[in-house]
């Protein structure tokens, strides 16, 4: 049964997320397999399962969750989802909506110098691509 969202803003948000991710969030049945295996779960404010539910509801609060920036796109949720949802792509959609509005969490100037001089280059390129606008 398709979920009918009452508010226009919610419907628009869900459509935007679907368009960017290419995924159907309504397939999620809230089993929690994604949350159980998640790399960053102990550092998240809301678990991947809960993020999925907020997306289904078209709740814009999901855009402000810390969790979407904690996701390291390791794809373990995607690999294990029994409904075949690429959850990492939905997390990316939430980040991308933020980033395209200029909101970011990784600011180059704030990276400690000690770290900056020691990390492999690939950490910088991947980190900035995922977490910076």
């Amino acid at each position: 049964m398709a979920m009918v969202l009452s508010s226009k803003i919610s419907r628009e948000l869900v459509e935007r997320i679907k368009e960017i991710s290419g995924q159907n969030p309504n397939l999620c049945m809230q089993c929690g397999t994604c949350s159980a295996g998640c790399t960053g779960r102990e550092f998240m404010d809301f678990l991947p399962r809960q993020v999925m539910r907020m997306i289904q509801l078209g709740n814009a609060k999901a855009l402000n969750f810390k969790s979407i920036w904690i996701c390291s796109t390791c794809l373990i949720c995607t690999a294990r989802c029994p409904r075949g949802i690429d959850i990492a792509r939905l997390m990316e959609a939430l980040r991308v909506i933020n980033l395209r509005q200029g909101r970011e969490v990784l600011v180059a100037e704030k990276i400690p110098l000690e770290l900056l001089t020691q990390v492999p280059q690939m950490a910088l390129t991947s980190g900035f691509r995922k977490l910076s606008a």
Binding site: S21, T39, F43, T73, L75, D86, A88, P120, S126, L131
Partner: protein, 287 residues
């Protein structure tokens, strides 16, 4: 046998040991890697937003350039490079819209004909573990090794088509061929926290401690990996973990090619063993 080779940004700077030991050990096995005449950064991450074609351009250009070389294959060893090149190639092969857009942008006519391959696959399929067993002049007998795959090599299984996504064994097969002892432990495909080292160091530290402890609890004396970022996270943070937890047991984290190079008796100074935070030499020089 000559195969075009894409080293990627990190292998020419922070992970020279991986570059040298990959080229050196494959050469000793009769495979010459010829670096692509021109290459750029691969972009490191595969864009997960459907509309982000620009995020695929760098990898697409590398693949299109590799198609101009002979051999039909492109070797790359860094897990991130391998992941992004393989997935972008998959997209170009299977998604006509993406292929058209990327080719228009690059002014190329590339259709996904290159096969991105990993040195582990070369060792298994082109050389053969039996041949490696015969050529490994220096036995690593008695050395207990835990293999760490991380995330990018094995997932998503449908596109990476690398090995079992939950329980890959190709690195273990190599370790056995080298005469060392394989240590089974539960965390070999969990993520080390990756680029979060820049954003949320506490997360990475917790992940690293978890992974290292699960390997040492099973008796591992060394960990091997193919990813320069996994190697860095697992290696660099050990000193900090020790400062917070006096009972923590340090363990060297190497590239699998360094172990391979040692077994093939490549000159030790060519393997970059001196570039690690936890020095593996006391363990390996006597191994």
């Amino acid at each position: 046998m000559r195969i075009p080779y894409f080293p990627g940004c990190t292998l020419h700077s922070k992970a020279k040991g991986l570059d040298y030991s990959t080229r050196g050990s494959l050469a000793a096995l009769g495979i010459e890697l010829t670096e692509l005449p021109q290459w750029t950064c691969c972009g490191t991450v595969f864009p997960l937003a459907q509309d982000n074609y620009i995020g695929m351009v760098a990898a697409a250009r590398i693949l299109a350039n590799a198609a101009k070389e002979e051999g039909g294959k492109l070797v790359t060893v860094c897990s991130f490079c391998y992941h992004v090149l393989k997935r972008v190639n998959y997209v170009i092969k299977n998604n006509l819209e993406a292929r058209t857009k990327l080719n228009d942008y690059l002014e190329e006519n590339y259709t996904g004909e290159i096969e991105p391959v990993h040195p582990l696959e070369i060792c298994k399929e082109d050389v053969g573990f039996n041949v490696i067993r015969d050529k490994a002049a220096r036995s690593l007998k008695g050395l207990k090794v835990a293999c760490y795959y991380g995330c990018m090599l094995v997932r998503p299984a449908s596109e990476m088509n690398f090995d079992d996504p939950e329980n890959p064994t190709i690195m273990e097969e190599l370790v056995s061929a080298l005469g060392a002892e394989v240590v089974e432990y539960p965390n070999k495909t969990t993520c080390c926290g990756s680029y979060q080292v820049l954003h949320d160091n506490a997360l990475v530290m917790q992940r690293v401690e978890d992974i290292l402890n699960s390997a040492t609890a099973k008796g591992a004396e060394a960990i091997i990996t193919s990813c320069p970022l996994c190697q860095f996270n697992l290696d660099w943070l050990q000193e900090k973990i020790l400062q917070e937890n006096a009972g923590f047991q340090k363990i060297p984290v190497l590239y699998f090619t360094q172990l391979l190079g040692l077994a093939l008796e490549l000159p030790q100074e060519s393997l970059g063993l001196d570039q690690h935070y936890v020095d593996p030499r006391p363990l390996l020089v006597g191994a």
